[in-house]
Each structure stands twice: as C-alpha cells, then as structure tokens.
Symmetry: C2
Subunit: 630 residues, 2 copies
C-alpha cells in the first residue's frame, strides 16, 4: 500500500492538505486518517519528508520504543491523528471527525473552522460491517467535508478480492447518498482534479475510487497478494531499485525530492500562520479556547454538589438509567462540550436532555445525534469526535450490545480518549426480553479492557458521583452500566465527599462482631443491604461494600484496599453477572452469588428469584457457611 | 411488527413454506429466520395456528419457563430455527443456512435437498454492519435459495427511520448483486407473485421490500414509533378489535381461520410425507443420515491417537497455529462435516487443508469459504451452518478480532452450537504489528461467555488433545487461542490418555519439597517450565500446571481441583494477558505475571522482556516472595 497509494498521498499532501509541523495541533488543520493502518510506512515516509520525524525514526520502524510502530498510534507519533489497524475503524472515526468539524464550523463560523477530513481506506475496510454503518450515517448527514480515498487495488491477503467480494462499491456508496468519483490512482492530474471536485461537493460526502497497483514498481509482486504482507527480500528491494532507476544508498533521499517536499511544507505552514493571525484577532477565539481546554467549566462540580444535596433530601428510588438522565439534564445546560446520542434507544437510555437539538444534514448547531441502529459506528464516531477536540461525546445502547461496539471501545481505551459509554439494561433485570438482551459476561469482559473505567452505580447518588469522575477522567473512556429497573436509595446522609471516588466504599458498616463482608455493585447493592438486615437481626455483624468501579479501587493505596477487603471476615460477592474476576476480592474460598449462565425471559423479580439473587438466599447461604464452620 | 408483517407471513406459510409439525427436524424443510426477533409473536401466532404450540403457551408469552420467550429461542420452542433478537444476526445466520443448503443440494442432489431460506428483517437489521457483510457475501456466492423479506415500515424506536438513515436500500442490495423486488406488504396477490419470482431467481439472492404499516389496524398508533415498543393498553386493544370488527373473546380464534390454517398445515405435511417416502427408498439416505449424526466417524479418535504417538516421537517445536493446521490436515480427510474458512487470513490462521476446495458461486461441492474481511458475518454464517445440520463449521481470524465477531460468538454459546473458532496470533507474541493487533483482554472476555470453551494449548500435543475435545463438544462452541510464534514441546512421553481432557493437568511435577505451583497456558508454559528449572536448581520444589481450558477444569470433581490447586504452595500464574479471573486459582495472595495494559510494537522477544514475562523474571519474583516470607 505504501507503494500503491504513494501517488495519491503525494497529490493530497502537496496540493491540498492543511497541516502544520510547527503547530501539529492547529485546530483548523485537515484531519487525515489512514484507515488501512498496515500501510503506516506511507504516512511515516511523508511525515519524514515534511519534517515530523527523522530518518532514524524510519530506520527504527516497528521496533520497541520507536515512534514508528507497526500501525499508526495516536499519541505516539506527532501528526498521527488516529490509531488505526483494526480495519474499518478509521473510516468510522473519520465520520466522527467530520461531524465535529461541521459542528464547530456552524457554531464558530466557517471563516474560522473549515477543514476537511480525509480517510484512506482499503478493500478490507470496505468489507467490514462498520463501513456500512459509518458510510450510511455520513450520507444521511450529508458530510460534505469528508473525502474518502479508496485504494482500489483488487488485492487482499487471501488473494484477489474477487475470491470474496463482488460488490459494486460505486453503486453502493451512491445508495448511501455519496458522490462517487473514479481515477487512475497513478495519474497525478486525475487525482488532483478529483480531490478538487470532492472539495467542492455540497451536501454529500465523497469517495474517490483510486485504481492502483499494489506494490507498484515491485515486479514481479506488483498487483498480487504477495505484495500485501509477504516479507520483502533484499532481492525484491534490488528489483524495486532497478525498476525506478534508483542507484543511491538505502535511506538516502534525493535533494530534488527534499526540496519539493520542503516547498510543500512551506505552503502548509504559511496557511497555518495566516489562520493563526486571523484567530489571534478574532473575538470568538476566547470561547473556542475555552471549549478546547480539558475538563469542565469552573463551578460545575460545585453546582453538582448542590444537586447531590437536593437528592439526599428527596431520596429518589428509581432506575439508575433514570438517575443518569437526571444528572445529564443538569450537566447538559452547563457543559457545552457534551455531545450525546443513542443507537436508536434514546428514550430507554435517557441520553437526550430536553433542550438538546438534534444534528441533521440541515443543521449541525446541535448536540444530539440519532446514530440509528449502528452501535459500532456510534462508538467509532465518538472516538473521532473526542480526537477532534472540544467535545466530550457520550452515547447509549443496551449493555448487552456493547459487544457490537467492542472494537471501537478498545480503541477509545488504547488512544486514551474521554468517551462516555452509556449502557443501560445492565443485567437479567431486563426481564421479559430474555437472554439475548440480558448481559451476563459483559461487566467482566469490559472490566478486562485496560484503561476503560466501568462504572456500575447503585443509586442516584452514586450515579452523580460516577458522572463527576467520568468528567474528570480526561485520558480514559468511561462506561456506565445502568439498571432498567428501580433501585433503592442507599446513602444514609449527604456528604460533600464523593464516596464513590475510591472505586469502592463501605455503604453500611457492620454492627457488633465483624463476621461478614458483602461486596456488591449496582442494583444488587439493594440485595446485599437486605441480606445484611437479615444477618444483623441474627446477630451476624455484616459490612456491605459498594464497588461502583473496580479499576479505581485497584488504584487505591494498599491500606485502603486492605481495610475494605475486610480480611478475617467471610467474603461474599453479589452481582447479577458472571463470577469472573470477583475472586480477586473474595479470595478462593469466598462465596459468589450471581450467574455463570445465560439468563431467561420472564419478569424481573421472577428471574432474580430463579437465579437465587435475593436477600433471603444471600443471607441463607452465608448462614449455612458460617454454621458449617468452613 | 406482528401486525405489520402478518399479511406477508400468512402468504409465506400458506403458499410456500415447506415445514412439518409432525417432523419438525425434516432436513429438507425451508428455514425461516425472524431476524427482527422482537416480533416473536408473529411467529408464535402462526406456530399456534399450524399446531406447534398451544393457546396456553401464547398466554404465557414472555413468562419464566414458558416456550414463548420474549425473543425466539432455538431449542426452547420446536419450530424456531434460530435464536434472534440482537439485530442483524438472523440475516447473517440465514446466509450460513443458505450456504449449507447449496452444499448439501450439490452433494446429495437437488431431488433430495432443495429448500429455501427465508429471513424476515427490519430496518434495524439493515442498519447494522453485519447486514453489509452478510448481504455482500450472499451476493458474491449467488445464493439463489435465500429470500429476504424486508419489513419496510419506516419506523424505528427513536421515531421515523428518516431520523437516522437515508439509504436507498434497493440500490444498495443491487450493488451487492441481489435481485430486488418491491411489494405492498398488505396485498396478498403482490406478495405471492414476488415470492414466486424470488424462488425462480437463478444465481442471485432476492430481497423483497414489503411496504408495510407498523401496528396495522391499531389506530392511532399504526404507522408510528408508538407502535414499536410502547405498551399496548386495554384501550388500544379495544380500538384494535373495533378496527378489525372482531367481537369474540380474548384468545378465541374463529373457526373459519382455524380451518384455513389446518389446510395450510395439511398441505405442508403432505409435502413432507412425499419427501420422506422418496428419502426412504433412496440409496443416498444412508450417507446423508451418517453425516447428520452427532459426533465424528468411528475410528477417527483412534487414528488421532496414532498421530499423537508419531508427534511424541518427532517432538515438533512450532507455533500452535501450525500444529492446529497439522491436525486439521489429518482430520479434514476423515471428518467430512468440517467446513472451514477464514476472514482473509487463510495462510496466517492455517485453516485450509491442502485438499480442500473453495466454495464459490460456481460450485458448492467444496469445504472452504473465503469469508473476506468479514469476521462478524463469518461467525454468524457458522451459526447458520451448524443449525442447518451436517456441518461442523470452523473459521479463523486473529484473536484480537474476536471482538468483531463477539455478538455472534455469544449466540453460538447461547444456542449451544458446535462451532469452532480458530483465533491465532493470541498475545503480544504478535510482535511488530503492535497493540491494535495484540490481544490482552480477549482471553478473559471470552472465558466469561457461558458455554464457550476457550482452549489455549501449549504445544503440538495439547493442540491435538484440544481438537479431540472440540470434536466431542457437540453442544458448545469451542475457541482456540493459538500462538503466532514457536513454542516448545513439553510432553515428556506419549500417553494414550488425553491429559488435557480435564482442562488442567500437571505438566511437570515438583521435585523435593513442594513449595511453588506455577499455572500457565499456551505459549507461556515454556516460560513457566523455564522458571521451574531455575527454581529447582535452587532447591525450590516447583510444580507446573498447564491449563488449556479453564471451563473444563472448573467442571472437574472437587478432589481433582483441590489437588491441582496445590494449597500450601505459593501460587503463581503466568499468562501474556490480563489478570482478570486468575485469582480464582491463585487466590488473593497469589502472584500474577502478565500484563494489565496494552502491548506495543516490537520484536516478540523484546516485548516479552519488556513486560517481564520471562523465566528469569518469574523465577526472580518467586524467590523474592519466598525470601520475604510473606
């Protein structure tokens, strides 16, 4: 791909791309996403030629601690906008970047914000399901500042793409409402004209199908699957040098080329400088700078505390998804960088505050996106929005469908993006919709993702406290697991301190001898508290620990952890989910009450009883163990 | 949907569908998949009318232990072919069913096997990414026995579908190479003609876009999102009765309707009886019956043992993905129901045995599918193939991309299907491709799925033994996590017993005092054994337990488990993955050596060293702990 798409990328950089090596985070730069990230050397080569990286970095390609890893990594290499590699993700991300651009352009004026998002995609990206979701959404929203460059080389790893696909890509994208262009990907003039036309498109995203030869100039591998991922031997390299008539040394770059690329960069820096001047004299600069700064406006956290105080008086018993919507309603009028959405479950997820306007092709001066039944694209778009800057995206679906967005959730975590996932209907509490809609393994499988903070709050107050933490986690994604069904209100009295801030805390201390610790999360904290009442009635001193966020608890100091683990007591965990991971807290001999099997269709209460997740069963099981003396 | 699609379903059942209540598993029946499974009552109503289920079952709709759960569940209700609900999955499954049908038809003759696969899909199914992958594959393979009935009602949960999509569905499916038809979904004549035309299609799958009114006859909710998922009040019910002029009791069915549906069933049973007679007299019956029986042919396991014996002599040290391919090559010529494939990673996954022919639109007399870069559709298709019967499907991708197929893997487990997932490149051992391609959390997240057997074999022999177990697990999916890099050969000598059959076993016993147990899996068993050598040299008696399958180990009896857990010894786990779940075996105070963070791009050996997963670090950490006396 670095050979096959070199001509296209050269035209893009030299004739169009707004970028600045001096100011790599220039807000109005174009965003370039290499969705088929395995072609990273294409990026690195050009980034070297324009001055982002040195030749030594090129030499250290794919070595540990280098800034030229196998796939482009955001945060690792200045100028790399998006971590890519898992196919199709870059395209989804690009759609989010393009939505964000339109939002800012409409809010701050297109004299200040008017840049393009370019995505280079391969056959693989377009075979992936996410390409459908993303392209369909982009067409629906008429994202005319999105330009996709399709490396149409007809080759995939297994061989010719004709082995596996017969799609008419042009007709397909037309059906999504895109402008479709086609060029010889090795004809500079054609490429330049096509990008020019795409940039003038109004009301439609564009895809430019670039007919290219994979491994160009690399006979005999050119145009075959052998050029895709087979090692490149010294003989191949010599053939390549012969083919292009190059007699210089390895890593040597002809002065003529250097000069041309220097001019490319100079042109780009000039454009950036002009913008910077315009920006410096602009009255909207302050507002834009404010929205681009990390964190939330001063005073919001204080005001949130006032809401907490009120809640402690009204003591609402409600579904945690409802509490989530309640806090959102409060925040959405104060934190303008929140941009919400749902995968067609808006009223179930409670993701839309009343005043929020909906983004459409007619207006981007809005903060809510109807993503449609496209969980995967939603998550990838949110990554794009977060990368663009100035937006804290959040989006909802049912927890069980977190599986659909998992590859993009992983990238939120890998890139360290502040994206908030709102996953409601978080257990068998879903009830009648049955096992296909009841998450069981999802909490564990999400807790396993490095740098993802999974919050499962137990009541209205914990929801608020977790919201506060999510707003502060500017380098990590958060995921809320929220109940469909009502839960109790557990907090005994108002405290200014965010009790959930350590990930786990004692929600009810034992009375009398310390015999039992029950760990629980979310809707099952009610069950744990109920069991505690029964046990205390029988004189069994029982502490209940609520654990809204395991990861944060694991980050606490050893004393805090040791204290909460309550060694010496019988340790019990109650969670309407699988047991995986709980033994870290309850030990090998602890008791787990939950379900290591799929759920069932039935009333919520019937299901909790059927699976034994009741206060009576928890208390009974504990008493039996205590009596057995084991 | 049960109201909006009633007319279409009525025509389908009464005029076309091959089914038999007397012989519900009749092999040549048509397969009907309700991909938008939330409309389950449409199925249940008709299934009642033709005699599959009683009126009491209808009354117990969505109640615990009923056979009419909220979404259709395979195995719960006779006549339900596929568990559906997660949108788009049914369509993917239908493509697998249709591939299987073509395979059997070509192998056994279309006089014996010639049935259709019908899928009812909604707007949501078609917005999901998997619809792209599945439809594109179906078009490529020219599956002319696949007929999709699209409930084109223009409504989703959030409101009009125009809120979120502007796709030209007709043009989109044409671009995939489908025949596209359009009907008034309430005009019996039009529907019948369209299905008739679709059944005559040659070389192309068909989609019939049925323009319908959601909640038909239910003013004023008809045609609005209120009809989608809002509760149906008693007043609504009365309005509905008024609208259709029905004055009978609840659950009462007019005799006229009963009679007509009795005739529908009689026609269907007759068709089945005729087939049964033809089949009984057919010389191919025996071969077909054999392939449809559970399990593998007699003698295969014995022969596999001979291969094991040979391996114990040659003692190959190779990547476990290579060992997998080795055993596959052996099995593929003996177990004809194995149908393989890969998502464009055939030569990396080692999923294609040399003699295997490739399925194409020209020939289905083959056993290998190039699924393209479509992991999700691959997994869903495999579910369809397994449901069809007579096929044990297996398919490969990289372990990190198991995330892309997760919703379908979950359904394999929920339905209890024998599907074999071949996931290679199973750790940071991936090396230079970097963190986007290195699984970290995937083993844990997959182990969390109920009824999924995750195998991570450590050497050529364990690969063979796990293959044997996967062949015997006829009611569960298996997933192989296999190394990219070479591993050692650990088995000391040949044993007829399958040592891996208990999920975990002692691969090297301690010598002298029993001080330490190291648990490990896959490529890290080498590290554990290396650490043991160092420790034994220092007189520290160290046992190494290989745990190729946690789930199977958890199913063993208490004595076996207790013995292997080696209480009293210092417990250590070594796995190049996240720690989640390990504390169940090593206890709260056990040592885990692995990585609770993302990987990096670099040489495999450099990465293992960087993350401290080396025999030196394992041994050193253990010695330090022993010295500290804690």
């Amino acid at each position: 791909m670095p050979l096959g798409m070199a001509d296209v990328a050269t035209v893009l950089f030299s004739k169009f791309l707004r970028f600045s090596v001096n100011h790599p985070s220039w807000f109005d730069r174009d965003r370039l996403v290499l969705s088929n990230g395995h072609g990273s050397m294409l990026m690195y080569s050009i980034m070297h030629l324009v001055g982002y990286i040195g030749i030594d970095d090129i030499k250290r390609f794919r070595q540990l601690h280098s800034i030229t890893p196998g796939h482009p990594e955001y945060g690792c290499t200045t100028g790399v906008e998006v971590t890519t590699g898992p196919l199709g993700q870059g395209l989804g991300c690009a759609v989010g970047l393009a939505i964000a651009e339109r939002m800012f352009s409409q809010r701050f004026g297109d004299d200040l914000i008017n840049h393009h998002t370019y995505a280079i995609v391969g056959d693989g990206c377009l075979m992936e399901g996410i390409s459908h979701e993303a392209a369909s959404l982009a067409g629906h929203l008429g994202l005319d500042h999105l330009i996709v460059l399709f490396d149409d080389n007809g080759i995939s790893i297994d061989g010719s793409t004709s082995l596996a696909t017969s799609d008419d890509v042009r007709a397909r994208f037309s059906a999504y409402g895109w402008d479709v262009l086609e060029v010889d990907g090795h004809d500079f003039g054609e490429i330049e004209r096509a990008i020019g036309v795409a940039r003038e498109s109004r009301g439609k995203p564009s895809i430019i199908c670039c007919r290219t030869v994979i491994g160009k100039f690399m006979p005999p591998k050119a145009g075959t699957a052998a050029a895709h991922s087979w090692p490149f031997s010294p003989e191949d390299a010599q053939e390549f040098r012969n083919a292009i008539g190059w007699e210089g040394e390895r890593f040597e770059i002809p002065e003529e080329a250097r000069t041309l690329w220097r001019e490319v960069r100079a042109r780009a820096e000039l454009e950036c400088d002009l913008w910077m001047k315009k920006f410096a004299g602009c009255e909207r600069a302050e507002a834009l700078n404010e929205i681009l700064s990390d964190g939330v406006p001063n005073g919001v956290i204080d005001e949130l505390d006032a809401l907490k105080n009120t809640l402690c008086e009204t003591r609402p018993t409600e579904a945690t998804r409802k509490s989530f919507g309640r806090v959102l309603e409060f925040l959405a009028t104060r934190v303008y960088k929140l941009v919400g959405g749902s995968s067609d479950l808006t009223s179930s997820n409670n993701t839309k505050a009343p005043h929020m306007e909906v983004v459409s092709s007619k207006s981007f001066d809005a903060s809510y996106v109807h993503y449609g039944v496209r969980e995967h694209a939603m998550a990838a778009c949110m990554n794009g929005m977060a990368l663009h800057g100035g937006i804290i995206p959040y989006g909802g679906t049912f927890l069980v469908f977190s599986d659909y967005c998992r590859p993009a959730i992983r990238l939120s975590a890998l890139m360290g993006l502040q994206v908030i996932y709102v996953m409601t209907h978080d257990s068998i509490g879903v009830g009648e919709d049955g096992p296909t809609h009841q998450p069981v393994e999802h909490l564990a499988s999400l807790r396993a993702i490095p740098n993802l903070y999974v919050f499962r709050p137990a009541d209205a107050i914990e929801v608020l406290e977790c919201w506060e933490m999510a707003l502060k986690l500017t380098k990590s994604p958060s995921l809320f697991a929220l109940s469909r069904q009502s839960v109790g209100f557990n907090r005994v009295c108002y405290s200014r301190d965010n009790l959930a801030v350590k990930g786990a805390y004692i929600v009810r201390e034992h009375e009398g001898d310390f015999r039992v610790t029950i760990f629980s999360t979310g809707s099952e904290v009610d069950v744990a508290l109920g069991a505690r009442d029964i046990l205390q009635d029988q004189g069994v001193g029982t502490r209940v620990v609520s654990m809204p966020c395991w990861r944060i608890f694991d980050e606490q100091n050893a004393d805090y952890i040791a204290n909460l683990l309550g060694n010496g007591s019988l340790k019990v965990a109650v969670e309407a989910a699988c047991s995986l991971g709980w033994h870290k807290y309850i030990g090998e001999r602890g008791i787990f009450i939950g379900l290591d099997r799929f759920g069932a269709s039935g009333k919520c209460e019937d299901l909790y009883r059927h699976f034994g997740i009741t206060k009576e069963n928890v208390a009974g099981t504990i008493l039996a163990r205590l009596r057995s003396g084991m």
